[in-house]
Symmetry: C2
Subunit: 81 residues, 2 copies
């Protein structure tokens, strides 16, 4: 069993209204010194077998077709343990 | 400038309908061998100054009060670079 994490974040040039909302709320809650906030998604996948090259290529395909929108988001795949 | 990542995931004992929906969609898209999917949130914060203990304690407070719901979610704080 392998655990793989796919992090999906809005591209830097894309507006991120969720991140902006969090950023705007921080001073109202008394927090200062935060210059920017970006909000994205984190997927934890548990896969059968080993983290072979083929399995990871498949995870990249999942990330491109289902987990992210490549027009507005970047993703990163990380194998955990 | 410091970049800090806050990962927020549903607690293991909590139902995760978003993760279940992704998990259910994978076989329909031709992907097999995925045992479980959990979906959470990823926040990237850019902070002024250095990652001192005080700053990180503040980030933990942000995570507890604004970024996560401690009743149903766990969070993890990671300093990047």
């Amino acid at each position: 069993m392998v655990r793989v994490v796919v992090d999906v974040m809005p591209k830097p040039e894309i507006l991120d209204p969720q991140g902006k909302a969090v950023h705007g709320a921080l001073p109202r809650l008394g927090f200062s010194g935060v210059v920017d906030v970006r909000q994205g998604k984190r997927f934890e996948l548990e896969l059968e077998g080993e983290a072979t090259e083929d399995r990871l290529a498949e995870v990249h395909q999942m990330a491109e077709t289902l987990l992210s929108n490549p027009v507005i988001e970047n993703y990163a795949v990380t194998v955990v343990e």
